[in-house]
């Protein structure tokens, strides 16, 4: 489908003098197909980088979990499964709307694209608001990283197992993982707003939807990371 679109655009690229492309074709590319493929490949390579960036945290999680399994089980009882689960659904749904934004953009439906991007942004904001309430609870309960870990019994989840002394390590990992992920959500909101503005300006068309496509790819990764974080931190 995309190859059709780009083949179509190639005709525009070689008009009268044979060297003026459509205005969205950057100066250093010969064909729209080349530009699209390069952007797509670049984003995939960047996503590989993102996975490796998170890998350090996942390894740290694995190491500490294998050393202190009881502590991890006890600590995970302090996390709110309902809020975490809601956030998972919100992010999954936002990934769906991001994919729909790409599809609408490919079909040249500017208005639908804009709406889907807005819903995606809205979901991202909902995610952060829920995260804010979760963090607030942790702050009140003194469930903080390392040195700042001072649990207040009255704020802890009732009936949960007692917290071992080194539970601060769990919350170090929890805050680092969700914090770094949260930063990615914030960056995601930023780039989604950017393509929403560009979409409103009418910069995208059936022939040129690359930015929507690659921003959606990034957004799927943010979603994917959370899909691993949720069970690791909240459920098991």
């Amino acid at each position: 489908m995309s190859s059709e679109a780009t083949a179509n655009a190639e005709e525009h690229a070689h008009d009268d003098h044979g060297h003026h492309g459509p205005k969205w074709l950057a100066h250093h590319f010969d064909t729209p197909a080349q530009q699209f493929d390069a952007a797509k490949l670049g984003m995939w390579v960047f996503l590989a980088q993102e996975l490796l960036f998170f890998s350090g945290l996942f390894v740290a999680y694995g190491v500490y979990r294998s050393w202190y399994p009881e502590m991890f089980v006890a600590a995970s009882h302090q996390l709110d499964k309902i809020m975490g689960g809601t956030n998972t659904i919100v992010l999954l749904f936002s990934s769906f709307t991001a994919a729909m934004a790409v599809r609408s953009s490919q079909l040249g439906k500017q208005k639908a694209t804009g709406n889907y991007i807005l819903i995606t942004i809205f979901c991202a904001c909902v995610f952060l608001v829920i995260k804010y309430f979760e963090y607030t609870h942790k702050f009140h309960a003194g469930l903080l990283p390392g040195r700042f870990f001072h649990p207040h019994a009255e704020h802890l989840v009732a009936g949960a197992p007692a917290l071992p002394a080194n539970t601060g390590s769990f919350f170090s990992i929890y805050f680092m993982m969700t914090g770094v992920h949260g930063v990615h959500v914030v960056i995601g909101i930023g780039v989604l707003i950017w393509i929403w503005i560009r979409n409103n300006r009418g910069e995208f068309s059936k022939e040129f939807f690359t930015p929507v496509d690659i921003v959606a790819l990034y957004w799927h990764l943010v979603d994917l990371v959370w899909i691993y974080l949720f069970p690791l931190l909240y459920l098991i």
């Binding site: 080349q34 390069a38 890998s55 350090g56 080194n166």
Partner: protein, 582 residues
């Protein structure tokens, strides 16, 4: 250009296809440029300043060690000097040196492309590098760090201000500097991978890429896959120092060896980020100055990728005495020996390239030959260290210092300076004085060996690295080493003066001063903004000397064997005239 034919290409209206990329003047024309060559030159200037700074720290370290006890500075200052030498040389100089500086200038031209795939991202990488460098400078102004460039925990992460027992120096800004500059490196890697895949000129198949391009491609893969692990590690370290996370500090329930695993998971592949591009430069220089296709072209290309792959599997050899299971150390030791295979493949192929080649011992070639010689010593001594029993004795001695300096300086810096000599005429449009280049090379080569052979000997006799003071039996070696560092420094000074003189009043460089068949020498000197007057189409490989025409190799040049035969011939302007169609 007979073998490399041209087609009309897309041109921007505001860019004159024939004008040199250096033509536009003014600071802003540089700061907002998207031209990969200008970005590369800005990188080149930045890394050269970093190299000077790191070099000054190195000379100070060596000067302090000239005599036993205090020579110049107290022990705390000495600790900072060797730490800053390491940090500046690794993160500010050697990582971006060949890929970001020289790769940026040359890679798109060797691909026959107008620019890298993402020119704005390219400029962003440079700004991120500068931004990170500012953090580094801030740390230095605040007294620098005394942790070594490795920032080992818990010394680096346990802040006395919060009741810790570690260093009180300015660690957070310095780790943030490395963290930020890491993203510059990652983005350059992303850019180069997309560029090599998608921006090749028609006819430029994978088997026709230069070995420099192959090396940069392999390097980019490492940059993209290894650097983010350093980023998260340094972020954890920063947060540990800031918030007392307790991931790396045993007093808080953490594990310092985990830090070493994380750190070397990046920093061992990073060794290949440093050396593989140098190997690429050397492969190209050897081909040009032996006037033939490199022997085992595909083997050299594949061994670059092999090094990139193996580089990820051997980080544990930095931890042989740090507390790992014996089985793990055996596996890491065995994997480490495997690295010798692709390295050996390269060295044997380079030497075989020389055999019956038409060798010309001009200055770039001197650096390339030095590379082979010194890298071989550096590589073979690496095998000593990869051997478990021997490493217990040699770990953390000057033997290790000498080993990695033979690889990093004897390898990468020789490749970097050789590449600088080789491509200098192309991107500055000026020639340099060959005689002074040779004098500079002589002092660097001699000085380097004097400095580090002494360190091999004292290291094998047990002199520990990083120490401020030493026993009397090591004094002679330290003095020889310090003396060598002065020769080395003098050599670089000669080169610096030579290059500045070339910029000020060097002779204009011809299109192809070395008679090379590679693509970057088939475009005007200095190249136009979009690199070629017309988009190139390759009908032969870049090392196919047998297929290259005389004009491609010797246009406007005196014949070395029959002076006067071509001497008077004016450069052919035909291609340029055809390109004028806007």
């Amino acid at each position: 250009m007979a073998a490399i034919t041209t087609t009309p290409g897309a041109h921007h209206d505001d860019v004159d296809p024939n004008a040199s990329f250096l033509e536009k003047k003014g600071l802003m024309s540089w700061l907002v440029t998207l031209d990969h060559k200008r970005i590369g030159i800005m990188y080149l200037i930045s890394v050269t300043i970093a190299f000077l700074l790191g070099g000054i720290f190195a000379l100070l370290v060596r000067a302090e060690l000239l005599t036993q006890g205090k020579t110049l500075m107290d022990a705390d200052t000495y600790n900072k000097m060797f730490s800053l030498h390491g940090v500046v040389m690794v993160f500010l100089f050697i990582i971006p040196s060949i890929p970001a500086a020289m790769g940026n200038i040359i890679l798109p031209i060797q691909l026959g492309a107008k620019d890298v795939a993402f020119p704005k991202l390219n400029l962003l990488s440079l700004y991120i590098y500068w931004f990170g460098a500012c953090f580094g400078l801030y740390s230095m102004i605040n007294g620098g760090v005394d942790t070594g460039w490795t920032f080992y925990t818990p010394y680096s992460s346990s802040d006395p201000a919060h009741g810790g027992v570690g260093t009180a120096t300015s660690v957070i800004p310095m780790t943030l500097a490395a963290f930020i500059m890491g993203f510059s490196s990652i983005l350059t890697g992303v850019n180069f991978i997309a560029t090599v895949h998608k921006m090749r000129a028609p006819g430029l198949t994978w088997r026709r890429l230069t070995l420099f391009t192959w090396a940069l491609y392999a390097t980019s893969i490492i940059q993209v896959l290894a650097t983010p692990v350093l980023a998260i590690t340094l972020l954890l370290l920063t947060m540990e120092r800031f918030l007392g996370l307790g991931i790396f500090d045993p007093r808080l329930g953490g594990d310092p060896v985990l830090y070493q695993h994380f750190f070397w998971f990046y920093s061992h592949p990073a060794v290949y980020i440093m050396i593989v591009p140098g190997m690429g430069v050397v492969s190209d220089i050897l081909a040009s100055f032996s006037r033939r296709e490199p022997v085992g072209y595909m083997a050299i290309a594949a061994s670059s990728l092999g090094l990139a792959l193996l580089g990820f599997l051997v980080w544990g050899h930095h931890l042989f005495v740090a507390g790992m299971s014996e089985y793990a150390t055996m596996v890491f030791s065995a994997l480490t020996f495997l690295v010798a295979i692709p390295s050996g493949v390269k060295v044997f192929n380079w030497v075989a390239t020389l055999y019956k080649g038409s060798i010309s011992l001009q200055s770039p070639m001197l650096w390339a030959l030095s590379f082979i010689f010194l890298f071989t010593i550096g590589g073979l001594t690496g095998l000593f260290l990869g051997m478990l029993a021997v490493d217990v004795h040699l770990h953390d001695t000057y033997f290790v210092v000498a080993h990695f300096h033979y690889v990093m300086v004897g390898g990468t810096v020789m490749g970097f300076v050789g590449g600088l000599h080789y491509w200098w005429p192309k991107f500055t449009g000026k020639m340099y004085e060959e005689s002074w280049a040779r004098v500079g090379w002589f002092f660097v080569f001699i000085g380097f060996n004097v400095t580090f052979i002494a360190q091999f000997i004292m290291g094998s006799r047990g002199m520990p690295r990083r120490y401020y003071d030493y026993l009397p039996q090591y004094e002679i070696f330290h003095q020889v080493s310090t003396f060598g560092s002065w020769i080395l420094g003098f050599g670089f000074l000669v080169l610096m003066v030579m290059f500045i003189r070339s910029l000020m009043n060097g002779k204009p460089a011809p299109r192809n001063p070395w008679g090379s068949a590679a693509l970057e020498w088939q475009t005007p000197t200095p190249p136009p903004t979009f690199n070629f007057v017309k988009d190139p189409v390759l009908t032969r490989g870049q090392y196919d000397y047998q297929l290259a025409t005389d004009d491609e190799l010797y246009e406007g040049f005196d014949d070395p064997l029959f002076p006067g035969l071509r001497g008077g011939k004016a450069p052919v302007k035909k291609a340029a005239a055809e390109g004028d169609h806007g």
